[in-house]
């Protein structure tokens, strides 16, 4: 017998990870965390192939997550899944599994926003209360903060995401894949010992950043015979500084005093150091989601499901559709008072 507590199964399947976990409102909160990662043979994610891989592994991953938590489906209080934003075919696998489980076992269905879940697991694990959120991943570059019970977007990229930009540049420069070695991105690695080359475009437009011009300029500089480490260093300094600059603006604008770094790219120690320098000057603190939970996982979905269930945010299965583009600011957050 399990003590009283709300138990929610959460399914993540927005991109390359099919993750399932069970979370509880009681400590230790995360009772299991199973993941299957789709790794393309070459190139980037092929959505259809990813979804086929997910379908093959879904039953096993779900079963393992329940076993690991020592919970039967009947003991669950709710079933959650990330219904967006993400890749359509991938999203539908998790959504279909969640709808089926909820309908079959008569459990409340919780329609989780993937971006919100990244923030909520970050808040749970770092103790951040009401931070300015910096969400940096392969596909996301977003500065947000809670205002009026929503995560409002204060700044974002006008073109490519930071992670995407870093991957693209290092690939073109012949440094990657693999993109990350020993916890350090190839861009951070090759920047070591580099010196600044003047005249690269540093683009901050109001609250937003732009990286496409920087990428073009950097590749041209390589062709023109600049030293690789200098180009890497310059590119990295500009990209990171631009992100920090718009974060500082969001801090100044909202008057908040915490910065929460979420998403895969947030793991960069160089970037983190820069954030700390900026925050120290403003009397703010920087909190970073542990790497294991900074990437896509089922625990963040299950945990957000717990919060949603507590506030009665239930969706009937027949109305639970996926949304490939579901913005973070379209999701109400009743848990902020």
């Amino acid at each position: 017998m399990r003590g009283p507590g709300t138990l929610v199964l959460g399914i993540e399947s927005t991109a390359h990870t099919f993750g399932v976990a069970v979370a509880s409102d009681k400590e230790p909160h995360i009772l299991s965390d199973e993941r299957h990662k789709y790794v393309p043979e070459k190139g980037g994610i092929h959505p259809l192939e990813a979804s086929l891989s997910f379908m093959k592994h879904a039953p096993t991953v779900i079963r393992k997550a329940l076993e690991e938590a020592g919970v039967t489906p009947r003991e669950l209080d709710g079933v959650a899944a990330a219904f967006g934003p993400g890749l359509g075919p991938c999203l539908r696998v998790g959504a279909t599994a969640a709808r089926a489980l909820a309908a079959y076992y008569h459990k409340p269905l919780l329609r989780v926003n993937h971006a919100v879940a990244h923030v909520e697991i970050g808040r749970l694990l770092t103790g951040a209360r009401d931070p300015v959120i910096v969400y940096l991943s392969g596909g996301n570059t977003l500065i947000a903060a809670q205002v009026g019970r929503r995560y409002r977007v204060f700044g974002e990229t006008l073109d490519v995401a930071l992670g995407n930009f870093m991957d693209h540049f290092t690939r073109e420069a012949g440094l990657a894949p693999p993109y990350v070695v020993g916890g350090l991105h190839q861009l951070d690695r090759c920047a070591e010992g580099g010196k600044l080359i003047p005249g690269f475009p540093y683009i901050v437009k109001g609250q937003d950043v732009s990286f496409s011009g920087l990428l073009t300029h950097a590749l041209r500089a390589l062709k023109a015979g600049h030293r690789l480490e200098d180009v890497c260093y310059t590119v990295r300094e500009i990209a990171y500084s631009a992100i920090i600059e718009i974060t500082e603006r969001a801090l100044a604008h909202t008057g908040k005093n915490e910065v929460l770094l979420v998403g895969g790219v947030a793991a960069s120690p160089v970037l983190r150091k820069k954030f700390e320098v900026m925050a120290a000057e403003r009397g703010a603190t920087v909190k970073v989601v542990p790497p294991k939970y900074a990437v896509d996982n089922g625990a963040m979905i299950a945990w957000t499901g717990v919060l949603m269930l507590r506030h009665g945010m239930i969706t009937p299965p027949e109305k639970a559709y996926v949304r490939q583009r579901w913005r973070i600011d379209e999701f109400e957050l009743p848990w902020f008072t």
Binding site: P85, L87, G139, N140, V153, E156, L158, D159, V160, A161, N164, L196, P198, G199, Y202, K205, G206, S212, Y233, T234, E237, I238, Y240, S241, I244, E245, E248, R249, L251, A252, H253, K274, F275, V277, M278, E281, Q324, R325, R327, D329
Partner: protein
């Protein structure tokens, strides 16, 4: 005002990017705008960014003035020191004055601002931060200040953003008559730029409003990469 500005420098505002200090320059009450060094940036990059932006801001201010908008005179620019010294404009910010003003009086201010913005737009300048805090009511007429985000642009999108920011600022301070005051702004705009241009701006405002923070629109523009 002039007597109180003598003596020691006084920090008027400390933003994320710059400090605004009231002081004297050549015996005139002046505003010193200094872009502050950012310790998280490479020192050389930091100098480069601050000097480039300082120069840009001064250029845009001068161009806006030449285009016929009432903008503080730039007295001195030292890009390497990230410093702009400009004329001090004595008066109350529209943001604070507006609630006390009668409909007609407030409408007139917005009409004049609309004219300024239209003149700037025709000259290929956008302000980028058009709010009621950046309008100062001086005896000789309203001034448009803070060109920190201004730039040279002929993109209809940027013009729409200017007008949209103005509307949003009006709504956040005085919701009751925001739409009326925005009409005043647009009528001033249209009297200078013509109806067709005014309509183009209004269409953009509606479009921006529809798409919230317009992420999807931008993605489509950027080539539809899925995030």
């Amino acid at each position: 005002m002039s007597s109180s500005s003598r003596g020691s420098p006084k920090v008027v505002a400390l933003g994320a990017e710059a400090a605004i200090v009231r002081y004297e320059f050549l015996g005139m009450p002046s505003i010193f705008k200094v872009r502050l060094p950012k310790p998280y940036r490479d020192p050389e990059l930091d100098r480069e960014v601050r000097s480039r932006r300082t120069l840009q801001e001064a250029r845009v201010m001068r161009a806006a003035r030449e285009a016929g908008a009432r903008v503080p005179r730039v007295l001195l620019v030292l890009p390497r020191r990230a410093l702009i010294v400009m004329e001090y404009v004595s008066g109350e910010r529209f943001k604070e004055a507006e609630p006390r003003m009668g409909d007609k009086e407030a409408c007139e201010v917005m009409m004049v601002i609309g004219e300024y913005v239209a003149r700037m737009h025709l000259a290929g300048i956008v302000h980028g931060d058009l709010t009621t805090s950046n309008i100062i009511l001086a005896d000789e007429g309203p001034y448009l200040v803070d060109f920190g985000l201004a730039k040279f642009s002929n993109d209809p999108e940027d013009r729409g953003v200017d007008a949209h920011l103005m509307l949003r600022a009006l709504e956040s301070t005085h919701y009751a008559r925001a739409s009326k005051l925005f009409e005043c702004f647009m009528s001033g705009y249209s009297s200078v730029a013509g109806e067709e241009r005014a309509r183009e701006v209004m269409d953009k405002v509606r479009e921006i409003r529809m798409r919230g923070r317009y992420i999807e629109e931008r993605r489509r523009k950027a080539g539809g990469r899925h995030e």
